[in-house]
Amino acid sequence: MAAQRKPDQPEFYERSTLERIEYAPPPGAWPRNPVAFHHGEFLHPAKPKNLEALGLPSAHAWSPLDEDWQLPAGWQQIVLDGLRERLEGSRTLRLMMDTCVRCGACAEKCPFFIGSGDPKNMPVLRAELLRSIYRKYFTASGRILGEFAGARELTPQVIKEWFKYFFQCTECRRCAVFCPYGIDTAEFTMLGRDLLLRLGISANWVMEPVANCYRTGNHLGIQPQGIKDSLEFLADELEEVTGIRVEVPINRKGAEILFVTPSGDLMADPGTYTAMGYLALFHELGLDYTFSTYASEGGNFGLFASPELMKRLNAKIYAEAKRLGVKWILGGECGHMWRVVHQYMDTMNGPADFLEVPTSPITGTRFAHARGTKMLHIAELTADLIAHGRLKLDPARNAGVTATFHDSCNPARAMGLLEEPRAVLRAVCPNFHEMAADTIRERTLCCGGGAGLGADENMEVRLRAGMGRGKAVAQVRDACGVNTLVTICAIDRATLTTVCDYWAPGVRVAGLHELVGNALVMRGGKPRTHNLRQEPLGGEA
């Protein structure tokens, strides 16, 4: 059978091969070491139709394996003009270009370096891929002294290197935690991808969701009737388990709350079980809410392409809240969605002065910390309900679950949403064990598939980047009998399933509100015999 395995399947890779990592850099100087591509480590190029759908320039067919990437005429000028524009528009970038002292404190903090040993996966060197060009064309010393000043010419080789290494970074910010200046590689990865996109160079796994989301309102390209079908299907499944038929309001004007969640929750296991948890909770609370088909995506792959694309996709959320006349917005479990909502949305598409401060209709808690953006995280809502004793829970239903919690990079390091999900998890699940201290909270490790890396064709990179997390999970599996990794991110739910199957077999991935849905005691209905996955209770292990 081995002969039929392909590089896009985890089974293709021998564990012992992936674990044999050479951490010493190769001979020679890095600016001269050539970049090469092999199957399993690169993403498929963006299809021209997806770039054209967004009105983006230089859409063309190319392959990372080609010698000539068919860069558009004047490509160097396009890159340098783009770089100048971004530098002039961002003190953040200027500082991060000028202040790094190359102490290397970040080097072995990067999950991609930990799993690959490739020196260009050290955050400092990933940034130098761009800084070397900045020095050559934007600093006097680089212009005059060249290589001696750490500068180098912009050649097609550099473009290939950028494509390779800026798509081997999930913008997770772990490096920044250990940097004395807080230099954030995510800024460089965003810049590098933005410059590449101007040449028509991007990954299809990023640009297809962006194009879909622009047209249909969600990454998966689900049309409005499809959203309805999916939600009705989840309501059917929930009825099987609970005996209760829940209403699924869609595009309903005058609702109090607009609920926005990643579309992955509606379509793919195990996210669908989390979505069933939402539906059960909202029903039991009697929440006056609505889904939207126009703003049917919480996630925002524009973040992984350019600030303008991020803004174009994100604009729909406030526009829809205004059209529907809701009072405030509730957001589901998603990682990078919350990076955008928390750190970019109000600046880009605010002010949301037509909305009201999120207030829990059940406990009356006024969430003042969201009084500007008017958007609340569902873990904040649920944690508040639990703190007020307003949820009737039967944690024993999750007795078959022994859980650990994976902090998703964005809620952890761009928000600080660390304790709310833990408070909820402790309330709904009797068995909870933390992973090693330097792999959780602000030091959390990588799922390997965020920022548009969650495809299959780059499986080797995903397994390598997920190695640290996978081994930390295996440690608590062996020590504490953990069988479930709980997380509050749709990308995590998809990508960590692969990571756990490979590095920590026997551990599966669940959303927080899947376990809430299991434990939630609902009025009416039938006694629970099965969990939301329709497995007999206690049979999870």
């Binding site: 020679g28 100087a29 004395p180 800024e187 600046t347 969201a370 500007g372 490790l445």
Partner: protein, 339 residues
Amino acid sequence: MPGTGRHLAVHIGGALAAVAAACALPVLMAWLLGPHWPVLLLPLGLAPLALVVLFVAKVARWMRAPVPFRVPLTTGQQRGSATLPRRRFDNPHSTFEVVIRVLLDVFLLRPLFRATPTAPRLGRGLAHGMARWLWLFAAAFHGALAIVVLRHLRMFLQPAPHFVAWLEDFDVATEMLLPKVHATSVILLLALLFLLGRRLVLVRVRYISLAADYFPLFLLLAIAVTGIVMRHLTRTDVTAVQQLALGLAAGKLVLPARADFWLLAHVFSVGTLLVYFPLSKLMHLPGALLSPTLTLANNNREQRYINARNPQVEVLHYADYEAAFRDRMIEAGLPVEKE
């Protein structure tokens, strides 16, 4: 060996040659000039001016660009629910909390202190950048350098401020234990040697190192060594130097009797450092204090952050969306704006 060969030779060799030139050229010039050596004070006097002008220009260049988004790095629990314990100085919300965070992160180098081995014993052979040793020696270096710089105020201010005397008392105390040795001198030298040694010994760090990383280390070593030699070994006429400096500060020229070659090497390498500082990575001093990830409050959802250059973008409006899908929405029983 990775990171050795031509690349290392160019970057280390170039840096060493530059420092050697900075020390030796003024000495050679003074020897050639003979009694006219005070002419050299003229270019030297321009160094502090260059520092100020270039420093201000660089920071102004930074400040001209806006910070497009408020992107603080959060390393602890947010301020949300009243019942959950928040980490104020990891996830600052108010200006006061930001100030404390900056003190901890920038002045006490907290991010380097966080360096612990990555559990659970990941990849075999993954060394950890000497973990907290980097923190210890980086802190020692910056602290010792600050003390040495402040102690030099005695050269320019008469009477010297009280804290200068206080700093001297600290060193005098150690001198009683170990004659001829100042604690700060020893710490400064050891820390510099550690930082240089680490850069050379750790292959990963050597692989990323440039002349711009070796040059300041070599230059500071030259400054420290010449300073220590003058202070502890030779009989440099420090009073004459002080008279010269105080005189210059008051606009008078009080020349020492003769040119001291150690002194010339010392002050010219300091001059080189002053000019080099604003052109180099040493600008991490103001840079760290301006870092948007460390100096912004995590109050994003509470107070809107304004980006003056917020670009206009093309958006697919609801009306166009509904127009594309209206039939299917009606068929599915979904509400529409236009029947």
